[in-house]
């Protein structure tokens, strides 16, 4: 059974409540969207991320009150290089949504969401540690898993799997 092709047309996906809500608030917030394998992905502009998260968390009909995960994907050497990925879960509605923020490789910075979900504290520190993506406004942006004096970001694609750098 081959997977059905993803829907990437924003016009077709306008009906999704989360997208409708976000683009109703700020038309520039939603850059693109993708519905693939029953999972909804919304590409959010980096400057709007924090407000978009507050909006989704406080939505009355479908509150995304649980931050499942924050991670990052490195698309080296293409630009924008980094995609920071947020997996949100709505416990009352049993629904998931994925937010993505694209960041340039030269100075990857995005606003922190620790003030929206304190759970993001460790997740963002982990992304900072392993990818070198900075979270603006994070109160304790320090390495989490690697030693404090480690150089480099191990999960970047230009970092070798084995051997010395």
């Amino acid at each position: 059974m081959p997977p059905t092709p993803p829907i990437t047309d924003l016009e077709q996906l306008k009906g999704h409540p989360a997208i409708a809500r976000l683009s109703g608030w700020n038309p520039a917030a939603v850059q693109a969207a993708k519905f693939d394998r029953d999972e909804m992905t919304v590409y959010v502009g980096a400057p709007c991320l924090r407000e978009a998260c507050v909006l989704l968390r406080d939505d009355a009909s479908c509150p995304f009150n649980f931050l499942s995960d924050v991670t990052c994907v490195d698309w080296y050497p293409s630009e924008p290089r980094f995609e920071v990925v947020y997996h949100l879960l709505s416990i009352p509605n049993k629904e998931r949504i994925r937010l993505k923020v694209r960041l340039e490789g030269s100075s990857p910075v995005v606003d922190t969401v620790t003030s929206v979900w304190p759970a993001a504290n460790y997740f963002e520190r982990e992304v900072y540690d392993l990818f070198g993506v900075r979270f603006h406004g994070h109160p304790y942006l320090r390495r989490l898993l690697m030693p404090e004096d480690w150089e480099g970001s191990p999960l970047r694609k230009d970092y070798p799997v084995e051997g010395y750098r």
Partner: protein, 401 residues
């Protein structure tokens, strides 16, 4: 912002306080958790977990392996419930591939997954009780755990690092006598749970050490990303098996234990009740076990049977190709979450259309649960820190990856 876990600072902030180091070689920290405590006498003023001692870079290693080679790595993440990790990973890749899994394989997955949950909860109960001072329970729990490990060995050849679930189905047909053994275990296990409960639930010392200790409210648990029994112990009725079913859990009837108190005792009660529910699921799985193949009909993904390899040219070619060059997975991304014994275990797998995953990320339930520790312990006694660490059931392999 007040309850964000701070990074490690080894200088006391007040005149009357001192810094106490606990771990990473402390028996109550379940592995290599290091906790820095700032204490005022016996009272904890500040608590700073320091993690990373077991960081092995599994996520990076995954990117250099074929999809099927990642399965044994997932065992090593959470070594107390390897099958749950296997399951979560294979489900994610199967979703990327769009594979249809035959019913017998699904039911076997549920059966093995619940046995793993019992296994994990038994280790938790034994060590948690031992931390607090009830030494006997440990021996009782490990007696039953040994039975489960023997079953794992019987079915997969391995006691702990099972790698029994494979992309597209199961590794092997369950051996003769396996189901009888599981049924016999399922018959006698409930009275063993009574035994543990006799030792603990009504025990006044246990009650004094756990009731009202390390309390966490539902709002805090949600905000800090707690999941599993830690979340349900705070009164939020959410279980991925029931609410967002996967691998055929919708066919099973079970209750989700919830407690309102949010203390160590509440989390204890939730897990002990889960032991009973899990054995109920095991029994249902045994009763309704369907017949049929254990592997999906996808020759380019699933390794052929040994017998076919010896007689059919095509099977041999597929075998050679899968082993030497893997199989290409259509480009895309999937986040698959399962209810592990500790909470929401999630795998985020990104494929770029090649035979190696572009990115594998594990959402570790323990990493999020650990963030509750400062909220639980601040202002309490050092002895309560031990109870709190035990009650969130941490596994450092999963936290550090």
């Amino acid at each position: 912002m007040a309850h964000l876990t701070p990074p490690v600072v080894t200088e006391p902030t007040q005149d009357r306080t001192m810094i106490l180091n606990m771990g990473p070689q402390h028996p109550s920290t379940h592995g290599v958790l290091r906790v820095i405590l700032e204490i005022d006498g016996e009272t904890v003023v500040r608590i700073m977990p320091d993690i990373g001692y077991l960081h092995t870079g599994i996520e990076k290693t995954c990117e250099a392996k074929f999809y099927q080679q990642v399965v044994p790595l997932t065992d090593r993440i959470d070594y107390l419930c390897p099958l749950t990790n296997n399951l979560c990973y294979v489900l994610a890749v199967e979703k990327l591939l769009g594979l249809e899994i035959p019913p017998k394989a699904q039911w076997m997955r549920v059966l093995m997954n619940e046995l793993t949950r019992i296994n994990s909860h038994l280790v938790w109960l034994g060590t948690h009780a031992m931390d607090i001072g009830a030494l006997t329970v440990f021996l009782y729990c490990f007696r039953e755990r040994e039975d489960i490990l023997r079953m794992f060995e019987m079915i997969s050849g391995q006691r702990m690092m099972t790698s029994y679930f494979r992309i597209g189905g199961l590794a092997l047909e369950p051996p003769l006598g396996f189901f009888e053994k599981v049924r016999e275990f399922a018959e006698r296990f409930p009275e063993k749970v009574d035994e543990y409960e006799n030792l603990l639930t009504g025990n006044p010392i246990w009650g004094m050490r756990t009731k009202g200790v390390a309390r966490i409210t539902a709002e805090d648990a949600l905000a800090l990303g707690a999941s599993g029994p830690t979340l349900r112990g705070s009164g939020i009725d959410f279980d991925l098996r029931r609410d967002m079913p996967y691998t055929g859990y919708e066919n099973f009837k079970f209750k989700v234990p919830v407690s309102q108190d949010g203390d160590v005792f509440a989390r204890y009660i939730c897990r002990v009740q889960e032991l009973r529910e899990s054995i109920g699921i095991v029994r249902q799985a045994l009763d309704g076990m369907p017949d049929g193949p254990i592997k999906a009909n996808a020759p380019h993904v699933v390794l052929p049977d040994r017998e076919k390899m010896k007689t059919q040219m095509e099977a041999l070619i597929y075998h050679f190709k899968i082993i030497t060059e893997g199989f290409a997975v259509p480009a895309g991304e999937v986040y698959q979450a399962v209810e592990s014994p500790r909470g929401e275990m999630g795998y985020y797998v990104v494929s770029d259309g090649t035979a190696k995953p572009y990115r594998v990320h594990m959402r570790a339930a323990c990493l999020a649960n650990l963030q509750l520790l400062p909220k639980m312990c601040e202002g309490r006694l050092i002895a309560d820190v031990v109870a709190a660490i035990g009650s969130i059931d941490i596994v450092l392999g999963e936290i550090d990856r």
